[in-house]
Homo-oligomer: 237 residues x 2
């Protein structure tokens, strides 16, 4: 094999490795999306069996994170990538931390289902939880799609959606506090709903973080801690 | 300058850069420690002025993170480090994310101080908050010390301390729920104490994460998601 062929071979191998990492991130992302859904459904329907499944499966999320993390570090050491490839690896290492934390939030919701004592207590607030769930699921789905397609088309609308999630969350908290005051006997249960809303709100934050990592990958700019307006400017230029 | 001298020069420059990053992380860490302290004091003493200061200063934490992150990426691109140096840069990028999140938790506590309506309402639970604060401050201090000295002497006791923090937190939550049931008029205020306890518990988690990053740096092993026993084995071998 001559030098040129070896070069091509190495370069193809490198591309394959990068592609494999991207695919693994998307697999992890899809799995985490499913975890959120199952966790929220277990909570809403008081389905303890489903909750157990979510908690068990969290291990898989953790392993995926460690696996991808390890591969990224290997490539950094072996290939010493630059420019876009380097940014992609750094962004991936950060994105999987966010995905793992989302997995933790899902497990947290499932743990609340497990400790439900009074399964017959039905709460109107579930309707709001369901709505919040749909909002953050959309956000995460959009963020993963941006990662997959390296596209910034939707990222500004996702970070904007996060502001709506925050408002919705604040409104749920306010309603739940009123409810606790009116009916102190169910404070424990109402607090669980509050923690669930909180977990979902945090998932929205992580989806935004993933969007920021994608922007960094594509544009090479660090857009953390800037306003929505500034972010939109970076994305559109 | 001959090749050897150029080599030495580059190597010295590289060491200087790595040293600078370590120093910046420790500066950021010290600053974040101070933020936690000020935030908790502002909450306990209903000191709104102090709380405002903490919130304003959170920007500084964010900027330190972005600055160190940028430097790490620059070195990765320019120097293509391997082995310990590569691990140190990866671990640093992750550790500063944890420090930034700790800063966020401090700002969160300060924001609760700001929205205090009833400053005259004094709560016995502050005593427990103070205790939790001391515990997590110790943990963070130990984690930063491990990072500074690249020493694993204390990391196992820090991760072990986290289990005590979790128990303490659970006990505070239980007490606060009882209090809310007994005195529903002060639910909002009691919830703020609960959120503060939660923020402190999260800070403990981040301190543990930093310990895990230090272990990765020193031993090259990923110790996330393993038991305390396994972690102690890795540290001692």
């Amino acid at each position: 094999m001559d030098t040129k062929k070896i070069g091509q071979h190495i370069s193809r191998q490198f591309n394959d490795e990068m592609e494999e990492i991207r695919n693994k991130v998307l697999t992890m992302g899809g799995f985490v999306e499913q975890q959120i859904d199952l966790a929220a459904q277990s909570f809403i329907n008081c389905d303890q069996e489903l909750a157990e499944k979510v908690i068990q499966q969290d291990d898989m999320v953790n392993h995926l994170e460690m696996d991808i993390d390890h591969e990224c570090t290997e490539i950094l050491a072996k290939r010493q990538p630059a420019a876009f490839d380097l940014r992609m690896l750094i962004a991936t290492i950060k994105a999987i931390t966010d995905l793992e934390r989302i997995g933790d939030e899902a497990a947290r919701i499932a743990k609340m289902t497990i400790r439900l004592e009074n399964t017959e207590y039905y709460h109107e607030q579930y309707h709001e939880i369901q709505h919040l769930l749909e909002m953050v699921k959309d956000m995460l789905n959009g963020a993963l799609d941006a990662f997959a397609r390296l596209s910034l088309d939707e990222v500004a609308s996702i970070t904007c959606q996060d502001q709506k999630v925050d408002r919705e969350y604040t409104s749920i908290v306010r309603q739940l506090i009123t409810r606790m005051m009116e009916d102190p006997r169910h404070i424990t249960r109402t607090l669980d709903i509050l923690w669930t809303a909180r977990a979902l709100e945090r998932i929205g934050d992580h989806a935004c973080n993933i969007c920021e990592h994608v922007i960094y990958m594509v544009k090479g700019e660090d857009v953390r801690h800037i306003s929505q307006d500034e972010l939109e400017k970076v994305v559109s230029r």
